[in-house]
């Protein structure tokens, strides 16, 4: 490899005058690897997105259980956030950090381990999610072995390599982009670990230690901050490096970047509860989330303003340069999304938008516009530099920009319309005071044309990425036979560096008090400039900000019992219902169905009594959901016969004409492995369910209940033989099938709340459970007056 020897860059800091220079070169190979991975996974993520969008309008195209909407949607979200977004972040971090630090990455080995480890995680996700191996927590679906791998790669390979590079840097001041990277690494690690605390029941199955309200709070503390610290802060770091580079001018206001960084990092952590307005979450937590979400608008727009105004005096370049086009539109979408987000956090707006496609439009404006376009801009800027050649076609890049922009608009506009349509139809009443659209399916069919338009928008966006793939490949083809490896010379940070002396008071020649002199010295902020350049101390402050904010929000949720009033009649699931619940989780039913009725008249009229926090104390994980592509199921128990559910799973349109739910024929013939039930019961008991007889007789109890369900099902019109033929022609006893377990679970949802004291005692006697017993964790117990709350 040829080497270019380059002179050190003059800087304004004392080290530049040091005669001793060190030689090093940047590792651009790792940047090339992450850039390619970004492109590949970007295509995969968007294509899977297109597939799930098509499955909504053509549910009959679900030709096998592995490609159902419920299983593929999490694959799309994980691929978009962690595969596409993740690799883009790493490409940005590895390129910019080395140059901002004037140091090669601390360890080439860790860089490689990071890259291959991350791709392995993605492949594991791509295999396990369609197989139904999932925790069913949004953006944290991956099961525990993969979670451990994520922690190892993120902290052990990426985090260590990054921090050590900062420690070994040759540029004393840490540029603002590095702060955003530090915040990302620290916070994502904390979020990931705490949200994924589980008890494994097998190699591919685990149960979260949290339940109900606590799990909801944890999940959306994680979920929103996954958006914040995975999709916002690292991309802001990207913006602060690549936008000034592309515009060839410094950022508009460095002071603004300091203020908005600290505000963002502190405020974002609190915003999670805005995903839970009007649910069974404590009202104070909901209000806290709303207020902080509203405040978040300010630092977010600080970032947007800084980005856009960096281009002042350079707007003429935007017309010629596709990189700047992508950045300008990307930052604009950031501004739009961070205005819309706080708007959606307002409780009265959220009342309309929650569970609707408005949320989806919001997410995609941010993901396609901000994350996507910033990534594309960065890649187009990087390509000529990492391949040491010219970009193959600026015209093609410009075409990509316009196709992508059109694609985004064709996606989000109809989906905004769909969201508003859903929200308004759900709450519409006739003059007589009845629901105007009592059949949920009417509200679904009304938005199908918008869903078709979305398919077109997504296809255009993918077409743009394909153009980038062509440009990428052709640029790579024109690379030199051997890459030049510039050797950089720069002085190390002086070990003997002495901070400038404590400044003197500017008031010393004036007749002022000693206190005034001391205050003036403090105001000159010498103390802050000292720790601002120290990466470890900086990291500690970021960690403190994040942890304090998190603790303030989460600790009360766990401590206070009145946050989750217990309900005496709510009992744990039976063994068969537990197994059925796990099938519900595996099939991803939460992707379309919520289980949380809000205390709003339109909801209670449509679904029944609103959901109480005490009803989900045994729900590990919670299944409140965040979408209503199908109706809410919180009071589903007892609404339909077993036979109705049986036929509905076999072919949904047979029971609900116009339904977009795919058929789940495999559930009618797949056998449930009853031998896994004792382990499920054991883990549930470990987490607080007051089981007794279940601990030793769970298989028998499950079979007993299954036989009873089949007996009822046959009486209601099901197969007279009590058996069903699988695709190979083999006769399967219905009581052994997964559909019966799932029906058992569905028939249990929401019924306990209405059980009378007599029914509760009868159930207890039948199960030989002592109703007076108090068990550790979230269990049912009498309230202080001996009455049901």
């Amino acid at each position: 490899m040829s080497e270019l020897k380059l002179t050190p860059q003059q800087t304004d800091f004392p080290e530049s005058k040091n005669e001793h220079l060190e030689s090093f070169s940047y590792d651009d190979q790792i940047v090339r690897m992450f850039s390619l991975a970004t492109l590949v996974w970007g295509l995969v993520a968007t294509v899977v997105g297109l597939i799930v969008a098509i499955l909504l309008v053509k549910p009959g195209w679900t030709f096998m259980q592995y490609v159902s909407f419920g299983r593929l949607r999490p694959l799309h979200t994980n691929a978009a956030i962690f595969a596409f977004g993740g690799n883009a972040i790493f490409a940005a971090v590895y390129y910019s950090t080395q140059r901002l630090c004037k140091a090669r990455m601390w360890s080439d080995t860790l860089s490689q381990l990071h890259f291959w480890g991350w791709q392995l995680i993605i492949v594991c996700a791509a295999v396990t999610l369609p197989l139904g191996i999932t925790q069913s927590k949004e953006y944290a679906e991956l099961e525990w072995p993969i979670d451990i791998l994520i922690a190892l790669v993120w902290v052990g390979f990426f985090g260590v390599n990054f921090i050590m590079t900062l420690v070994k840097r040759r540029e004393r001041h840490m540029y603002v982009a590095l702060w955003f990277y530090i915040a990302t690494i620290v916070t994502v690690a904390v979020l990931h670990v705490f949200n994924n605390l589980v008890v494994p029941s097998s190699l591919f199955k685990s149960v979260p230690i949290y339940a109900g309200v606590q799990d909801a709070m944890m999940q959306w503390w994680y979920g929103h901050n996954a958006v914040a610290f995975f999709l916002t802060t690292p991309f802001l770091g990207l913006m602060y490096y690549f936008l000034p580079k592309a515009a060839e001018r410094p950022v508009f206001s460095y002071k603004l970047s300091i203020i908005h960084f600290w505000s963002l990092v502190f405020i974002y952590i609190w915003a999670g509860p805005h995903h839970l307005h009007y649910t069974a979450l404590a009202s104070w937590a909901s209000s806290l989330g709303m207020v902080f979400s509203l405040m978040l608008w300010m630092p977010s727009w600080g970032g947007m303003i800084n980005g856009l105004l960096t281009l002042r005096g350079a707007w003429h370049k935007v017309a010629e340069d596709p990189v700047l086009k992508f950045f300008v539109v990307g930052v604009t979408f950031y501004g739009m999304s961070t205005f819309e987000g706080p708007l959606l956090s307002v409780k009265s707006v959220n009342m309309l938008s929650h569970y609707t496609d408005w949320t989806i439009a919001h997410v995609h404006a941010g993901a396609l516009g901000w994350n996507g376009f910033m990534t594309f801009g960065m890649l187009y800027w990087l390509l000529p530099r990492i391949f040491q050649t010219k970009l193959w076609s600026t015209k093609l890049a410009t075409w990509h920009f316009w196709l992508g922009t059109l694609g985004i608009l064709l996606y989000i506009i109809p989906i905004y319309v769909a969201g508003l349509t859903q929200g308004l139809m759900w709450r519409a009443f006739t003059d007589e005071g009845n629901l105007a659209y009592p059949d949920f399916v009417e509200t679904v069919n009304a938005i199908i044309p918008m869903w078709w338009t979305r398919v077109g928008g997504g296809a255009l966006y993918i077409a743009g990425i394909l153009l980038m793939a062509v440009n990428y490949f052709k640029t790579w083809q024109s690379r030199p036979g051997t890459y030049d490896v510039p050797v950089i010379e720069a002085a190390p940070l002086s070990r003997d560096y002495v901070d400038p002396p404590v400044p003197q008071s500017r008031l010393k020649n004036f007749p002022v008090t000693d206190f005034a002199n001391k205050l003036d010295v403090f105001e000159q902020a010498h103390w802050h400039r000292v720790w601002e350049r120290l990466p470890i101390r900086f990291t500690v402050w970021v960690t403190i900000a994040v942890v304090v904010a998190s603790a303030f929000e989460l600790v009360p949720t766990f401590l206070i019992r009145s946050n989750v009033p217990t309900i005496k009649s709510v009992k744990p699931y039976t063994p068969l219902e537990l197994a059925g619940r796990d099938i519900y989780v595996a099939e991803g039913c939460y992707n379309c169905h919520s289980q949380m009725i809000r205390p709003l008249f339109a909801e209670t009229e449509r679904y029944g009594e609103y959901s109480k926090p005490g009803e989900s104390v045994f729900n590990h994980p919670f299944q409140w959901g965040s979408r209503r592509i199908g109706p809410d199921l919180a009071r589903e128990g007892g609404k339909q016969s077993h036979y109705w559910h049986f036929e509905h799973f076999r072919e949904p349109t047979s029971m609900t004409p116009g339904s977009v739910m795919p058929a789940y024929k495999h559930l009618l013939t797949d056998e449930l492995n009853f031998q896994t039930i004792p382990e499920r019961v054991r883990v549930a008991s470990l987490l607080g369910a007051p089981y007794e007889r279940e601990l030793t007789e769970s298989e028998d109890m499950a079979m007993e209940q299954a036989k009873q369900i089949v007996k009822d099902l046959v009486e209601q019109g099901g197969p007279k033989s009590g058996t069903i033929k699988d695709p190979s022609g083999k006769e399967i006893a219905l009581e052994k099938t997964k559909v019966v377990a799932l029906i058992a679970y569905l028939q249990r949802i929401g019924v306990d709340y209405f059980k009378t004291e007599t029914e509760t005692k009868t159930t207890d006697a039948a199960n030989e459970v002592n109703a007076e017993a108090v068990a550790p964790g979230p269990v049912v117990e009498k309230d202080q007056d001996g009455k049901q709350p």
Partner: protein, 57 residues
């Protein structure tokens, strides 16, 4: 006894405390930033443009 105490505490105060805490920190950060000399922040902003040497030998 601690359990009883935590049961009776009014946690809605946490939201107000959080707001006060944020306000104090935000004001401190703003003051610190505004008093930083312009020359210093200009130097810091120029780091990104100066991260690659211009001359070749």
């Amino acid at each position: 006894m601690i359990k009883k105490l935590t049961t009776f505490l009014d946690y809605s105060l946490f939201a107000e405390l959080a707001l006060v805490m944020f306000a104090v920190i935000f004001i401190a950060v703003v003051i610190r930033t505004l008093v930083t000399r312009r020359e210093t922040t200009s130097q810091q902003a120029r780091i990104v443009l100066g991260d690659q040497p211009e001359k070749h030998v």
